[in-house]
């Protein structure tokens, strides 16, 4: 018990509070002008919007993948199931250089897209691609267990009462799976807001255009602007904590729903 508390204080609580207190010690004027400067605001907007688009895409793709993996039997299913975890296990930097190379105008996919005059590299859409990769397993891995522990009786009784497949899905299955889906999507969203390694290679990091908030912190640090970095980080941290609170709320709601 003592070890747990000491460990958490040393590794988590003390360092995090340094950032929070540091931000409070800053001149309020300087703090506000830093976080509301157009370049920083643009980076927040970009981080949030790309994370949101990726999360929504993952809600659909992740759900369908979980559904397919749980309910269908086909060759290669077990391999796919195992590979869902790859984005967890693969270092983000490796993912980053992979996507940057794949989607570059001379890359495997980039070539094809270039013919259609679509460019993903150095564009927000490229960031979204990287964030989809990062967030994907969160959705699959939260929906999958709920889906596989679903009692067949629920569907069977719905069908015996005359509901068709679609009605059964929409009225019985979806409401049951929704809390888990929401948890997974929120996790993916929260993770995507702070993601750095996989994004910077494909983003091109153009100020105002493809500069994400974590990179903003990095840039300020490189210029030895510690206060500026803290200010940007503090706001990002606030957003993350809000996400955690939302997540907690969802989980509590989920528990209540199952009681």
């Amino acid at each position: 018990m003592g070890y747990t508390v000491f460990y958490l204080s040393a590794i988590v609580i003390v360092p995090l509070s340094t950032l929070v207190f540091g931000a409070f010690r800053m001149d309020p004027q300087a703090f506000i002008s830093t976080v509301t400067s157009p370049r920083v605001l643009a980076s927040y907007r970009l981080s949030l919007s790309t994370a949101l688009v990726a999360a929504i895409f993952n809600a659909v793709a992740g759900f369908l993948t979980a559904w397919t993996l749980v309910r269908y039997r086909f060759p290669g299913r077990k391999v796919l199931d195992a590979l869902v975890d790859l984005p967890f296990a693969l270092p983000t930097a490796v993912a980053g250089i992979c996507f940057a190379t794949l989607y570059s105008p001379v890359g495997w996919i980039g070539q094809i897209l270039a013919k259609a005059d679509i460019q993903l590299i150095n564009a927000p859409s490229g960031i979204v691609v990287a964030l989809i990769f990062i967030g994907f397993p969160f959705v699959v891995r939260t929906v999958q267990p709920v889906l596989s522990e679903l009692e067949p009786e629920m569907e069977e009784s719905a069908q015996s009462l005359g509901a068709n497949r679609w009605q059964t899905f929409r009225k019985i299955l979806l409401p049951h799976l929704f809390p888990a889906l929401l948890t997974g999507v929120t996790l993916a969203f929260a993770r995507a807001i702070g993601e750095y390694g996989s994004v910077i290679f494909i983003a091109g990091n153009l100020p105002f255009k493809t500069e994400i908030a974590p990179l903003m912190i990095m840039t300020k640090l490189d210029q030895f602007d510690y206060d500026g970095a803290s200010a940007v980080a503090f706001v990002l941290l606030l957003i993350s904590f809000t996400m955690l609170l939302v997540l907690n709320g969802i989980q509590r709601w989920q528990q209540k729903a199952y009681q």
């Binding site: 793709a61 077990k78 975890d85 296990a89 270092p91 290679f201 980080a233 997540l247």
Partner: protein, 284 residues
């Protein structure tokens, strides 16, 4: 696990529960397409790029002294981080599942933290805490200890990013096992340590092993946090992912992907072990 078996049987035996074959086919194809674009293509690319200019160049990139020192630093970091997190993970999971105490909810919430906090912030907080500009940092500097832009900083930042992995693996496992076995051991006269060693530890060993492997993979692959605290000193404070980045930004793609391929192997090994562990648990 029992339920899973009956479910599999029911999927096959109850046609009403299965979707139309056409729907199934479309969804399966979509899944494969998604995996092709997001998983198989990147994996294939790494090896295609790495071996683009032949095996000799691949080996040269890996045998490069700077690459080797990056590997050494990465392994050293993992060797420190994983045992510390294992002890933390076991004690935290033990406390959370077998006892009730004040602040338990807070502890559980903290375990979600590294998922939500940007790795860049994870690095930044340690720069703010122990950088040369802070009082703690300068005090440490006076005593000849350097944390930021050196190995200790990399270790601590990695600790922050990976601390909940093992605990999160163990908590659901220990919760599902309940505390009856431990209580039985106590009524038979076993001391706390004996109970833990003979009863609890064997029950959780697979979960613990998987958690440690996941933690190893993450500590080896951590990029953002380490990038902030390392200072990028070549051959001194470079980890494998940082080395990949440097090579890439120098347009040395072949070498970059060659080194990256090591990390891909590690990631695939992690996944394989996970599948194995799950099969083990499933069979029991």
């Amino acid at each position: 696990m029992q339920t899973n078996h009956t479910q599999e049987a029911l999927i096959i035996t109850n046609p009403n529960r299965n979707d139309h074959p056409a729907v199934q086919l479309i969804l399966i194809l979509l899944t494969f397409l998604f995996f092709a674009g997001f998983i198989f293509l990147p994996l294939g690319l790494v090896f295609a790029q790495a071996f683009q200019k032949g095996t000799a160049l691949y080996l040269e990139a890996i045998r490069d002294p700077i690459a080797i020192s990056a590997v050494k630093l990465t392994l050293l970091t993992a060797a420190i981080v994983v045992p510390l997190n294992a002890v933390f993970g076991v004690t935290a999971a033990w406390a959370i599942t077998k006892f009730s105490f004040r602040g338990k909810t807070l502890l559980i919430s903290l375990l979600d933290l590294p998922f939500a906090v940007s790795p860049v912030i994870a690095g930044l907080i340690f720069v703010l805490l122990a950088g040369s500009r802070t009082s703690l940092g300068s005090w440490l500097g006076d005593h000849g200890i350097k944390i930021i832009f050196s190995t200790p900083g990399i270790v601590i930042a990695t600790l922050f990013v990976t601390f909940p992995f093992i605990a999160r693996e163990l908590i659901p496992l220990m919760e599902s096992q309940g505390r009856e076995e431990e209580e039985a051991a106590i009524t038979l006269g076993a001391k706390g340590w004996q109970t833990f060693r003979i009863i609890t530890l064997p029950n959780i060993r697979w979960g613990l092993m998987y958690g440690m492997i996941l933690c190893t993979a993450r500590s080896i692959g951590e990029f953002g946090a380490v990038s902030v605290v390392s200072g990028h000193i070549r051959g001194m404070t470079n980890t494998i992912p940082l080395h990949v980045e440097i090579l890439y930004s120098e347009y040395n793609y072949t070498a970059s992907f060659a080194v990256a391929s090591i990390l891909v192997f590690l990631a695939l090994a992690t996944i394989a072990v996970k599948a194995l562990v799950e099969k083990r648990v499933h069979n029991q």
